[in-house]
Amino acid sequence: MARIAYHKIERQDRLYGGLLVLNAAVILAGLGAAFVMEHHGHIVTGMNNQIVWGLPHVFAVFLIVAASGALNMASLSTVFGRAEYKPFARLSGLLAMALLVGGLSVLVLDLGRPDRLIVAMTTYNFKSIFAWNIFLYVGFLAVVAAYLFAMMDRVVARSPDTGKVIGWTAFVWRLVLTTGTGSIFGWLVAREAYDAAIMAPLFIAASLLYGLAFTVLVLATVDRLESRNLVTDAMAGRFRGLLAIFALAVLYFTALHHLTNLYASEHHGILRFLLLDGGVYPALFWVGQIMIGSVVPLAILAAPRYGRSRSAIVITSVLFLIGGLAQMYVIIIGGQAYPLNLFPGMEVTSSFFDGQVARYTASLPEFLLGLSGLSIAILLTAVAFRVLPFLPSQIRD
């Protein structure tokens, strides 16, 4: 295969500058929101003692899951030997790191005591999947950084074995990482919406989809910024196939999860709540995740001619990400809103809202903090594009 040329973004473009300013502003707003939350306490958020994880966690988990999937291009080229994806491998590693940093920032800034981050980094309970995830996240950043070095350093890049070893390590690491993220919920025995091993493969499938959707949108933005054609017709066709397969995989695991609940009488309550009579949650599930985030984009991709077009994969990527946010919202907030089952078969009431569906309305600080995670990822990526040659100069079909 011909040698791939890479480049940095050089042009002083109004669009590029606007992108930086806009995301910097959102990040500042997010930091301000975190300060308000830290100063006044979480009383300024919509979170309470019933919904303990709110909108910041939706964004954080969404970004962390997407981070693992953003490595798709690198894994496809190094691990599966698909050379056509190699030009995007550097970008893929960078995006993976940026998304993870964005997600982790939100997670850390939402802590009740973010000033104790050093405690979290130095005091561990190894029975906690959360503690393991700290290693998995930090390790992922280190492994992908090494992966990028192996791809970009002139000397190391000449050794295919080195790249292969680091590529495989990163591939296994990302699968373990997303397993760990899914298991944050899957290993919770207390709540009926979770407590299911399928959460891990569901999150892995979701990561493949979100990560690729982010990659497509970044490439489309670069094409717009630099008037290039990185998403060629052939690449659009490949992305189309991958997006469709990943979306179907998410649907498969989602359906299996709910069908399992349908089969077990003890889970009928939570199933009805999430899919039928839970108010905003069934609406977000059916309209957000299923219609906007699955059926419509899959239908677009299935269209014989338009489905292969550049605009089709860009639009569907946006829709898949909207669906992904809805999916995370239903899993994280909906799963908590359903009351704990202290006395199965009985009605329970108390001054602590036992037996009641928990109310939750996200506040502005939460939204800004969550959104700032996305902006951190975008800003880091945009700045890195200017500093180092992550982007292929040309794609030959």
Partner: protein
């Protein structure tokens, strides 16, 4: 050797001695005084021991000196008789609030509740009962398992606590607790009790009044329930077969809430 001397074991001083040796009257008086003193001392000692035993009969154990290790052979627990728990009674909750300094701030959805009263109703026939719900001090506590920093921990005597110095406020323990026993401190707290430190941004829950237990006293809820309510709560060492709680748990049919989850709670309930 004269009668009443120390070496006269057969005679013994001043105990109605029938010794026929002549004795002076003052010797007799001295002997009588000694007898009276001895009797009084014996009576006082006996009475004091009795009173002492009686006064400690409701307490679980002797006080633990600061620095002494917690006894790992002990497992503190509660037995709650729902049939004695009044539907409208809130004595245990009020006592806990007073003891530990938490309460109503006008924000019911974010206010901490270390202990709460549950009303449980059978929808089929309307039968209902009431009971207090607090941290169940599980032997295999999910909150302890999931805590990333180990801030949620179980003391050697079974009391589950939160180390306020290492809690980062991630709330994963609240996600993991099957009993909704934990609260997150959503706003700054004032007027804290020295024995029950609280902190904005950290998680808290029932400590089983560990500060009182270490002093050999009963948890505030148990004491209040005994003093002013139905006496529905019994505190004691579940590992000591001679303790009242162990005897009752062994005698009566009891249950633990969501025992199916295998968390091995330290709080038992009767008549539910």
């Amino acid at each position: 050797m004269s009668c009443g001397s120390k070496g006269d074991k057969a005679c013994g001083s001043g105990h109605g001695c029938a010794c026929k040796t002549s004795a002076r009257a003052d010797d007799f008086d001295a002997s009588r005084r000694a007898f009276l003193r001895g009797s009084a001392a014996t009576a006082i000692t006996t009475l004091a021991v009795g009173v002492t035993l009686y006064s400690f009969s409701a307490a679980p154990a002797a006080a633990r000196a600061p620095g002494d290790k917690v006894n790992p052979k002990t497992r503190w627990g509660l037995l709650i008789d729902a049939s004695k728990c009044g539907d409208g009674c809130n004595a245990c909750v009020t006592a806990c609030q007073t003891e530990n300094g938490w309460g109503d701030t006008g924000h019911p959805e974010t206010d901490a509740q270390w202990i709460r009263k549950l009303t449980v109703r059978n929808p089929k026939n309307g039968a209902s009962f009431s009971l207090p719900m607090m941290c169940q001090h599980c032997a295999d506590a999910p909150c302890v398992d999931v805590c990333p920093t180990g801030a949620s921990f179980k003391r050697a005597d079974g009391i589950v606590l939160v180390d306020k110095h290492t809690c980062i406020g991630c709330r994963y323990c609240m996600m993991a607790c099957p009993y909704k026993a934990r609260s997150f401190v959503h706003e700054p707290v004032t007027d804290q009790k020295p024995h029950a430190p609280r902190g904005k941004g950290t998680v808290e829950s029932c400590t089983l009044c560990v500060h009182r237990v270490d002093e050999g006293r009963l948890p505030a809820c148990v004491e209040a329930c005994s003093d002013t309510a139905g006496g529905a709560m019994l505190f004691g060492d579940l590992n000591d077969p001679t303790s009242e709680i162990s005897k009752r748990v062994a005698t009566y049919r009891t249950m633990r809430i969501r025992a199916d989850l295998g968390t091995n709670p330290g709080v038992y309930y009767r008549n539910i």
